[in-house]
Structures are given as structure tokens and as C-alpha cells.
């Protein structure tokens, strides 16, 4: 008998194995949940990994205060429906407490400030494992990540000196004050995520599907007009049919023109897309070639 296992089944099994390793080997794990599609899939996998028991760890949202309201509504309804505990780490509170200083100027964003809020929350709650939904296909520095990625007492990543990760024997040992970032979705691609969302009928925030929205063009990207982001001089506002390929801070996440209003449409669109998801939608990666590596070294997601 051949029993060929499909690639999505193989990926699901691998992720579930990782999630169970984390629950078994760490004292205070936490799963990062933003309401974005990758974290929604990760939470879905976590529910499956421990079924029929409850999730043996809480989820945490690093809230920039600049999120799309649809996403926050979705976050809260998911947490209630799935019966999980939510910890909110607030960038606004970090600003109020003087831990970070708000950026100014037309491209001001709270994206980078999240790192301090995240690291403070990890310290405050004594989290020893932090699970994130980052994928290796997203970005070239992320392509270098291990499943279990060691962070020192400053939350720093040292990409030149990573622990060898052989077979699926993960080494999560660390000293007090250090922690491990875990990436259960490392081997998933954007298309895998969408196919899985379709197969499993996973619900997402509505902004992932085509809708009408007021936008303006900045650096070639379509930015939504929100309470946190207003057009500058000469940036003309117009209504367009758009959707989001990634969901992050409203100040640095762009929409793409799209009429894909169902999951099938989205899959067709993603499969045919000639631009990476971050390239199409993230202003934060455009600053320099190594922007992601630099942020990750400091302790970013």
C-alpha cells in the first residue's frame, strides 16, 4: 500500500507536532494572535493539536492601537468562540509609560515600536516560548529561521549563530530571562495557507475579501484612509474595490486592487500573483534591503 500523504496533511502534522512539543516542554508558552490570516491558521492548528481539551496556553495580541476595526472585532469574537484566554499588550501603554516615543512625519508608524511592547510583555508575564505565525517564504531573513529560535536576555536574534536543528528534535533549553520563539508555520507558503483556509472552512476578517474602500496612492501602494492615516498634500482620495493580502498596522499595510470576493477567487488570484505578499503590501520592508533582518535582530516577530 502506498498511502500518499498530501502536502497540506504533511504540513498540518508537522505544525501540530511542534505545537505539542511547546506545550510539553515549556512552562509558560504563549501564542501570538493578531487576527491576521497566518495567526488565525496557527490558532486553528493549536485547537486541533489539543482537541478535545482546551488550549493549554493563552494567546497574546500586540495591539498597536492602529488596527483595522474589523480585525479587532474579529479578534474578540474568535477568542470568545474558541474559548481561549487573551492577553493584550498595548503599544499605546508603552508610549504613555515613556518606554517608546511615537514616530512623527508622513510615514510615521507604530510598527517598529511593537518590539519594545512585545519584549516588555514577554518579561512581565515570564513567557518562555512565544509562538508566531511567520513563514519562511515571506521574506529572505525569515527564510533563515529555525522552528525553535533562541532569543537572549535582550530578546535578540543572532542569525549567524543559530543552533543546528536536526531532524525534528527541537532544543528549547534556555536560561531564565531568555526565551524561544517558535514558528509552527515555517514551511507553509501563502498559497498553502489559503488552500488550507478553504479546505478547513476557516473564518477570516472580512477585509481579506474584496470590498469598497476610500484609498489614496502612496509610493505606488494603495493606503486606506483611516483615523490613523490621512492623505498628504497632493494625495488624491478615491474609492476602489480592494482587499488585503496581509493585515498589520493600518499605517503601513497596503490594500491591493482586487475583485476576489470568495475564497476560491482569492486562491486563483494568489496562484497567479507575480508579486510577493510583503512586496505588494508592506511599506515597512521598503526602507532597506535588510529591514526585516534588522528588526528581527532587535526582537521583532
Amino acid at each position: 500500500m502506498q498511502r500518499i500523504i498530501s502536502h497540506l496533511d504533511a504540513l498540518e502534522s508537522e505544525s501540530i507536532h511542534l505545537l505539542r512539543e511547546v506545550a510539553a516542554e515549556f512552562e509558560r508558552p504563549v501564542l501570538l494572535f493578531s487576527g491576521g490570516k497566518d495567526s488565525v491558521v496557527m490558532l486553528h492548528l493549536a485547537k486541533k493539536a489539543f482537541w478535545p481539551a482546551r488550549l493549554p496556553f493563552p494567546v497574546m495580541h500586540v495591539d498597536t492601537g492602529h488596527n483595522f476595526p474589523e480585525v479587532i472585532t474579529f479578534r474578540d469574537s474568535s477568542v470568545a468562540r474558541l474559548d481561549v484566554n487573551l492577553v493584550v499588550a498595548s503599544v499605546q501603554e508603552s508610549i504613555d509609560a515613556g518606554r517608546v516615543v511615537e514616530e512623527t512625519g508622513p510615514n510615521a508608524s507604530r510598527n517598529r515600536l511593537q518590539t519594545t511592547t512585545l519584549l516588555d510583555a514577554i518579561e512581565q508575564h515570564n513567557f518562555d516560548a512565544v509562538m508566531g505565525g511567520a513563514r519562511r517564504d515571506e521574506e529572505k531573513a525569515r527564510a533563515k529561521e529555525r522552528f525553535f529560535s533562541f532569543r537572549d536576555e535582550f530578546g535578540q536574534w543572532d542569525p549567524k549563530n543559530q543552533r543546528p536543528e536536526i531532524w525534528s528534535l527541537y532544543n528549547g533549553r534556555h536560561r531564565k530571562g531568555e526565551h524561544i520563539r517558535v514558528f509552527p508555520l515555517s514551511n507553509w507558503t501563502e498559497l498553502d495557507i489559503w488552500q488550507y483556509i478553504a479546505d478547513e472552512e476557516i473564518e477570516l476578517p472580512p477585509i481579506y475579501y474584496a470590498h469598497r474602500r476610500e484609498v489614496f496612492r502612496r509610493d505606488g501602494m494603495l493606503m486606506a484612509v483611516t483615523d490613523f492615516l490621512q492623505p498628504g498634500d497632493g494625495e488624491e482620495v478615491f474609492e476602489a474595490t480592494v482587499r488585503y493580502r496581509t493585515v498589520g498596522d493600518a499605517t503601513c499595510t497596503a490594500a491591493v486592487a482586487s475583485t476576489a470576493s470568495s475564497i476560491e477567487d482569492v486562491i486563483t488570484e494568489v496562484a497567479a500573483s507575480r508579486i510577493t505578499e510583503r512586496g505588494a503590501t508592506r511599506a515597512d520592508d521598503k526602507f532597506s534591503e535588510a529591514a526585516m533582518e534588522d528588526r528581527k535582530r532587535e526582537g521583532y516577530f
Binding site: A10, R20, A53, D137, I166, S186
Partner: protein
């Protein structure tokens, strides 16, 4: 669609990163913004055209030095298969990262520069791939464009490598002449080498038979986590969660739980999608037994008539990765095998292996970074293991330095 994992290996500058860039480029898997960034960087570096190697060399230090330091993972799919590629470094100094990439690979591609032929790194990587039990090995004789696509060069290198490989345990070995830079025999068969009768690399990747590489005979289920909901609805639920390491489990099978030796029967094999009749590798499932036994993480569920070795004395081949310290007999380490941690004392180093000549140095007293040797370990608790050659999942372990928490060795039980 089936998933195939492969790793590239070979010496520095033999063209590993270029080959991956070529595979992605020719199978139209590179996105436009990535290409633009690539052209831009190539131009800034004062080079011409597009340096495909920059696709996988993603770290600042790698781009600055023009070398691969750590494994980079890349993904692509054709209508037939989905591929996970581990692009590994060629420098001897980074051998441990090559081992990382190859440990889970179904196939290893070893690149050789046609002008240079088989060199020490080719032998080292071929040996490591065979030691790591990678089922399929392809020797890619690259840069054929620089030797006028000469068949004699190809045949000479092939013969030399075959002689070396005869000393190794390689199940499936293939040879492809190619030019990664120009794309000859990468995606399509090359018109420049009409004398070559084999297939292109991509064709091989799509067609190689891997489903039977799994061990479906020896039933090994390391218990990873015990699921006990303790709520009203599932008050008495007690399931043993884990990933099937090998063999095939069916509802109704008689099983034995190690180390207790108690026997029981599989009552159900659960997943969140509902129960399944059968579980095979690499499925993650939850097994329930008909009897109430004491089972915890690190235990193993097997069949009574086919059990692993149960022993505190372990014979193994060890690849040493420690930078700060050497392996020396008498030292203790933390050891992880399947879902189990134990402590291990290095009782004896029998020999150190010269991977170039396969000569055994029995006078060796230590192993340094990237050296390989045969050891005897004594563990604090018995391991449930099989020979690595028979079972990659239960025959493998890592050693961790108890002071620094670094992973210092990969072990293969013999």
C-alpha cells in the same frame, strides 16, 4: 499533491545557490518584486545581469561576503509536487548547517564543478548524506559550459565518484551534467549535451518515488503529550498524542507500552476532524487504549511482537558541532531522542573518521567541530531505539551542552 524535501550540498562556489535560483526562475516561481530587488542589488554590486545566488543568501553577512552561512529554505511547486529546498553552505566551517538541511531531506543534490572534479568537500557531503540516510542522492556535475559540454569530463567524474560511493551506503544514485547558470538540464533537457540520455533535474524531482522510503513495518509511536480535557463533556477522555514515527497503527491492534510493558488494544485513533481507521507516518494523531494504563510523555506505543531496542547503553556515530568545547570521554550531556530527554555520559570514543578516506583513527581522544566519530554512551534512562539505517526517527538523537544549552552533536544509533 505530494511533498518532497531536498537539500543542496557541495563545496563553495560549485553553484548551489545559482541552481536553486535557476530552478525557481525557470519554473516561474520568482515574484517580480523579488526579481527587481535582485537586479538592483546585482547592479549595486557592480555585477551584470542577475546574480541568482542572492535569492537564497538572505542575510546581510552572506551578501557582504558572497557566501552562504546558514541554511535558507525556499519553496516551489509544479503541478505534480510541492518542494521544500534547503540551500546549505559549502564551507567546512558551516558543516553543521549542511547537516541541519540534510537531516530531513528525501533527496540530496551534491554539486561538483566540472573543471575541478571530485574534491574533499564533495566526498565529505556525499558521506554525510549517506550517514544521514538521505534516500536519494544526485551528483550534479555543474558548469559544463566551462568544459565545452564535454562528455568525457562527465564520464570521468562519474566514474571517480562511483568508486568512492561504493564504500558508502547509498540506495539510489544518479548523475546529471548541467549548467546551473545557463539552465542546461535543469528544467529542460539541454540541446548542448545530446549525448546525455537521462532526464532533467526537475523531471527527476517530480518523478522520484519517495512514498516507500518511509518505514511502514516497525510500529513506533512516541507519546508526545497526554490529552486530558477534564471537563464535563469529556470527563474520562485520556488520549496519547504524538506523530507516528514508523509503522501503521489500526483500531483494534494489540499494543505494548514501553517502558512499563503493559499491553492493551487501540480503542480509537482520534484527530480533531474525527476518528481515523489507520495512522501512518508522518500523521499527528491521538491514540486511545481500551485499558486505563499509566502512560506519559517519553513512553512509546509499539506492537508486542516487534519492539525496539531498550537499553541504557547506546552505540552511535556522532557529528560534533560544539564550537566552544570538544567531545571528550567522561563528559555528560543532555540527550533528546524522540519525545524523551535523558542525560548521557560519553563512555568511549572508539575512533574518529576521516571523511575523505574513510580511514578510522583509533588513537583519537576527542572530536572537534565538524568531526565524526563512533562512541559508546550510557544514559540515565533506557532509550527505545532502532538502528538509524532502519529507522531515521527512532535511531536519531541530539546532545545538548548542559551549561550553554547549545546543541553540540547529532547522533545516529548503530
Amino acid at each position: 499533491m505530494e511533498l518532497l524535501r531536498f537539500a543542496t550540498a557541495g563545496s563553495v562556489d560549485d553553484g548551489k545557490s545559482t541552481l536553486i535560483g535557476r530552478l525557481l526562475y525557470d519554473s516561474k516561481q520568482i515574484f517580480e518584486d523579488t526579481l527587481e530587488a535582485l537586479e538592483h542589488t546585482t547592479m549595486l554590486r557592480g555585477e551584470e545581469g542577475m546574480n541568482l545566488a542572492l535569492l537564497t543568501d538572505g542575510l546581510r553577512a552572506e551578501r557582504e561576503q558572497g557566501i552562504t552561512i546558514d541554511v535558507a529554505y525556499r519553496y516551489f511547486a509544479t503541478p505534480r509536487r510541492k518542494f521544500i529546498i534547503a540551500d546549505t553552505p559549502g564551507h567546512v566551517q558551516y558543516t553543521r548547517n549542511m547537516v541541519t538541511g540534510a537531516s530531513t531531506a528525501d533527496m540530496a543534490l551534491i554539486l561538483v564543478d566540472a573543471r575541478k572534479g571530485i574534491i574533499e568537500q564533495s566526498r565529505r557531503h556525499a558521506f554525510l548524506a549517506s550517514l544521514l540516510g538521505v534516500p536519494h542522492l544526485v551528483l550534479c556535475i555543474n558548469k559544463m559550459d566551462l568544459v565545452d559540454y564535454d562528455q568525457e569530463v562527465f564520464e570521468r567524474i562519474k566514474a571517480e565518484f562511483k568508486e568512492f560511493a561504493a564504500k558508502l551506503d547509498v540506495r539510489d544514485l544518479q548523475f546529471i551534467p548541467m549548467s546551473a547558470l545557463n539552465g542546461d538540464n535543469v528544467v529542460d533537457r539541454s540541446a548542448n549535451m545530446p549525448w546525455y540520455e537521462g532526464t532533467s533535474l526537475l523531471h527527476l524531482l517530480e518523478e522520484v518515488h519517495i512514498a516507500s522510503d518511509r518505514n511502514l513495518i516497525d510500529c513506533r509511536f512516541p507519546v508526545q503529550y497526554v490529552i486530558r480535557p477534564r471537563d464535563d463533556k469529556h470527563h474520562d477522555y485520556r488520549g496519547y498524542a504524538g506523530q507516528v514515527a514508523s509503522g501503521s497503527y489500526k483500531v483494534g491492534d494489540d499494543v505494548v507500552v514501553l517502558p512499563s510493558g503493559f499491553t492493551s488494544t487501540i480503542a480509537s485513533i482520534d484527530t480533531a476532524d474525527g476518528p481515523v481507521e489507520e495512522a501512518v507516518p508522518p500523521m499527528s494523531v491521538t491514540i486511545r487504549l481500551t485499558d486505563n494504563l499509566d502512560v506519559s510523555r517519553g513512553d512509546m506505543i509499539c506492537r508486542p511482537n516487534n519492539q525496539p531496542h531498550i537499553s541504557q547503553d547506546v552505540e552511535a556515530m556522532l557529528c560534533w558541532f560544539g564550537e566552544r568545547a570538544q567531545l571528550q570521554p567522561g563528559v555528560k550531556y543532555a540527550l533528546k531522542q524522540t519525545s524523551k530527554w535523558a542525560r548521557a555520559l560519553v563512555k568511549d570514543l572508539h575512533y574518529r573518521l576521516d571523511v575523505n578516506t574513510l580511514h578510522r583513527d583509533e588513537d583519537a581522544t576527542s572530536l572537534s567541530l565538524n568531526e565524526i566519530g563512533r562512541v559508546t554512551l550510557r544514559t540515565t534512562a533506557p532509550l527505545f531505539s532502532d538502528d538509524y539505517r532502519r529507522n531515521r526517527a527512532t535511531g536519531s538523537f541530539i546532545l545538548v551542552d548542559e551549561a550553554s544549552n547549545d546543541t553540540v552533536a547529532a547522533g545516529m544509533i548503530v
